[in-house]
Assembly symmetry: C2
Homo-oligomer: 512 residues x 2
Amino acid sequence: MALNSLGREIPESYAGKPLIPYGDPYAIRPQGNVAARPLKRVNPGHNKRLSSLREAIEASGLKDGMTIATHHSLRNGDFLLNRIVAEIAAMGLKGIWIASSSVHPVHAEIIPHIKSGVIAGFQCGVNGLIGEMATKGELTCPIVVRTHGGRARSVIEGSVHIDVAFIAAPCCDEYGNMNGYYGPSACGSLGYAQIDATYASCVIAVTDNLVPFPVVPVSIPQTLVDYVVVVDRLGDPAKIVSTTTRVTTDPVGLQIASYASQVIEASGLLRDGFSFQTGSGGISLAVAEKVRNAMRKGSIKGSFGCGGITGYFVDMLEEGLFSALMDVQCFDQEAVQSIGRNRAHQEISADMYANPFNAGAVVNRLDCVILGATEVDTSFNVNVNTESNGYLLHNTGGHSDTAAGAKLSIIVAPSIRGRLPIVRDRVTTITTPGETIGVVVTERGIAVNEKHAELKEELVRRKLPVKDIAELQREICRVTGTPRPLEFEDEVVAVIEYRDGSIIDVVRRVKE
Amino acid sequence: MALNSLGREIPESYAGKPLIPYGDPYAIRPQGNVAARPLKRVNPGHNKRLSSLREAIEASGLKDGMTIATHHSLRNGDFLLNRIVAEIAAMGLKGIWIASSSVHPVHAEIIPHIKSGVIAGFQCGVNGLIGEMATKGELTCPIVVRTHGGRARSVIEGSVHIDVAFIAAPCCDEYGNMNGYYGPSACGSLGYAQIDATYASCVIAVTDNLVPFPVVPVSIPQTLVDYVVVVDRLGDPAKIVSTTTRVTTDPVGLQIASYASQVIEASGLLRDGFSFQTGSGGISLAVAEKVRNAMRKGSIKGSFGCGGITGYFVDMLEEGLFSALMDVQCFDQEAVQSIGRNRAHQEISADMYANPFNAGAVVNRLDCVILGATEVDTSFNVNVNTESNGYLLHNTGGHSDTAAGAKLSIIVAPSIRGRLPIVRDRVTTITTPGETIGVVVTERGIAVNEKHAELKEELVRRKLPVKDIAELQREICRVTGTPRPLEFEDEVVAVIEYRDGSIIDVVRRVKE
C-alpha cells in the first residue's frame, strides 16, 4: 500500500498487475513501442462472411481467459455485448475479460454470466448496476476504470490486449469496410472502435445493414477486419443516441450556466480561434447557448468544437461559429446526420481525441471545457465515478482527459444534490486531479483554482461572486449540514486509472 | 545462388540481407506482428513548429546509416527530396538510405550525393537516370525495387524501418494535421505518406501552405506528426500532377484499345458491380473510354474505379458509372479537385490499396485491370522495370499488385516498340509473374493465358484475333527480326522484389 500524490492509498497490485500510484498529470513518459497486431494475409476470392455470431466467435479462436471488446457508440441501445456474452456462455467459455470502451446499464443482462464465471472482469469503466453491485460486494469482478484517452492508451501501448474485437457496424460491406453514418443503427462517429480495429488480434464486424462493396466514406477499413457477420438488429435506435440534449430550464441550472459563460468571457479565451467542449447535460448546453450568443454578438469565429458532439455544436458549425467539429462520438441524431454529410465534421479516433501517449491529442488544443461532477473537494479534485453513497455508477469518459488538455476547465454543478453538498473535504473517489481544474461554478458562487490568479482577479473586477472554495463549502454546509462520512471495507472493488496509466484512486466495498 | 520458380538466378543475399527466391503469387504467409513505432508524449502547449528543414533534421536525431522516406505524390514536380538530401549532405551525414515510395527523374540532382557516400542506397524503385547509371556501373548504390503494395508491406512488417519520414503536406496546420487536397502544391491523395506517418520513428510535416488549426478533412493526423516545417515551395505545380491524361489518337493504340475493350466485354465481368483500374497512358485511357461507352450503352452501374485516379474516372463517378473511387494517388488536377469535394472519392493508403499482408487489399476486389509492359515473354511474364537495353528506368508501381488481385489483368502494348518485338522468349527483367496475367493485347492479335480457357473460347467465338503467344511472337519477329540478346556482367545492381517480399528477378550490370 502506497499513498499517491493526492493522499489516496493505492495497493501494490490489482487483478494480478502491479499498480503505479498517481503522481502528476504530465510527468510520466511512455517507454517502448506501440502494440502490434499479427500480420495477416487474405488472397483474392476469400469470403469474410460468416453466418452467425457463434460461428464468428469460433473462427476467432477465443479461449478461456482472453479479452474481448465492443464500442459504446450505441450506448444504452446496444444489443451486441449482451448477445456476445450469451453466446460465449453457451459455448462454455470461462474467465473472459471485457475491455469495451464503456459498459452501460443495458448490459446488466450479463450479470448472471459474471456470477457464473464466464466473465472474469472489466478492463473498462461501467455505468449502472454492475458497478453498484460490485461496490456492495454482490459481484466479484475486477473493474479498471479508464478515461476515454486512457482506454485508447492502454490498448495502444499494449497494457490491455484485445484478443477479439466485435465492432457494431451500422453500415458495412462484405469485406468489412464500415462507417457509422448510415443505416437503422447509425451512431455517427466510430472513434472508439477505430482503436479496437487497429490493435485487436482478431476483428469481427457485426452489422444489421450490409451494403454493396465498397462502403464510402470508410471509417474502418477492410484491411483490419477478419470476419463479417449480419444480425437482425444491432440495437434499439430509440436508445442509440438517447441523451436528452435540451437546454436546462431549471433556474438553478440557468444561474450556473450564466456564471460559467461569464467566466469564459472573462478568461480572454473567447476570441477568434476559440475551441470548446461541453457535455450533453442541460447545464452544459445552457452554457453552450450563452457562449453561442456571445460569439454571435462579438462576431467571433471559433476554431473547433470537440468531444461527444450534439446538434448544438452542429448548428454552431453550420452557422460558421466553428470551422470544424472533432467528433469521437455523436450524442444525438443531428450529430449523426451531420457527420454523414459535412466534411468539416471530422470523425476522430479516441487516440486522436485524448490519448496522452501520442504526438499530441485534440484535447491539448482545447481552450475551454465544461465538465460535471458528483463531488468536488477543496483542492478542486473531482469525482464523477461514484455517488455520495459510495456506489460506482459512472464511467469517467473524457473528463480527466479534457481537464488535463484544456487551457481552462470549468466544473458546473448545483451546490446541493440529493440534500448533500457538492463541495467536500474529501471526495469519495478522485476521478480528475484538482491541479487540472480551473474553476468550480455553482449557483452560490464561483471558486477559482489558485493557478488561475489572473482570471480570479478579472472575475472579481467583473463583480462575479468569487469565493474561496472552503468558504463556498462552509456556506453550502450551513444549508445541508456536514454529511456523515461513508464507511468502507478494505476490499478494493475497482481502481480508477488516470489517463497515463497511474492509479489516482480506488473504489472500496461499501460497509453495509 | 538459387533459381526461383521462374528460372531466374537469385543471389543468397543483397545489401547485407538474405533473399527469398520467388515461388508463387499467393503462398507466402506472413509471420509475426506488424512493426511498431515508439510511443510518444506531447503535453498541452508544446510547439511542433521548427524554423527550417535543417533544424527538423537535427531534431529528428537522424544519424549515419539511418533511413529516410518521402512520398511521390508530387511526382516529377517534387522539390523536397533534393532539398533534404542537400541538407543532410551539408550536415556531414553519411550512408543514408532512401525508402521513399518512389524516386523520379527530378531526383537525379542527388546523384553527386550518392557518389560522395551521403546516400548509401534505395529501399525503393527509381525512375530515370539513377537506375540507368546504376545499370551501367556508373553509380554504386543498392536498389530494392518494390511494388506499391510491397513497399507498404515492407514498412508495415518492419523489414524496412523508416527512421525519419519527411511528408510533403500540401495543406497542414501547426500541429501536423494535413491533407493533400488544397493549396498551391495540392496533390490529392496522400495514400503513400499515410504508411510513412504511421510507422516511422519520427515524422516531419513539410508544408508551403500552413493553415489555421485544425485542417479538415484529416488525411494524416496530428497524433503521428512530431515536427512541422514551413518552406517556400514544396514543388512545381505544373509538374506535380503532370501525367498526360489524353486518350491516344495513334491508330495502333486505338486498335489495341478496341481489342482490349472487346476482351472486357467478352469476359462477362462488365456487368453491374464492375470494378476497374487503368493507368494514365493514352492506350489505357482509350480503353477506359470504350468501357465507359459500353457501360452507358448497357446501363451498367459499376462498383469502383481504383488506383492512380484520372479525370476520366472522376467523370465516370460523377456520371454514376462507378459508386466510388478508391484513390491511392491522383494523376491529374481533375482528380485532385474531386477528392477534395466528393466523399465517394475515397482516399486509401497504399496498405489498403495493395499490401498482400493485411486482411484484404482493394486490389483483391478488382474485376479488371489494364496494364502496360516494356516486354512480355511467352509465359506471360511481364517486364516494366527495364527497357530492352537493360537499363533500369521504371519503378513497378501497382503493376504486380493489381495483376495478382484482379480477376482479369490485361496487358496492352504495341507489338513493336523502338523496332523491337514486345513478345520475347525471355524478358530482360521479370516484374510481374505470368501466372497473374490474363491476356496480352497487341494490335496484331490477342494472346490469352491458358488459365482463362473460357474467355479464350469466347474471344474466338466473337471472331477476335486470338493467337497463341508464341505464334504472336513469331509473327512480330518476322517484321522486327529476332533481337540480339543483351549481355550482362555478374554484378547485381538492383533486385526486383515481388509484392510478398520474395525476389522475382535481379537487374545486372550491362556489359559495355
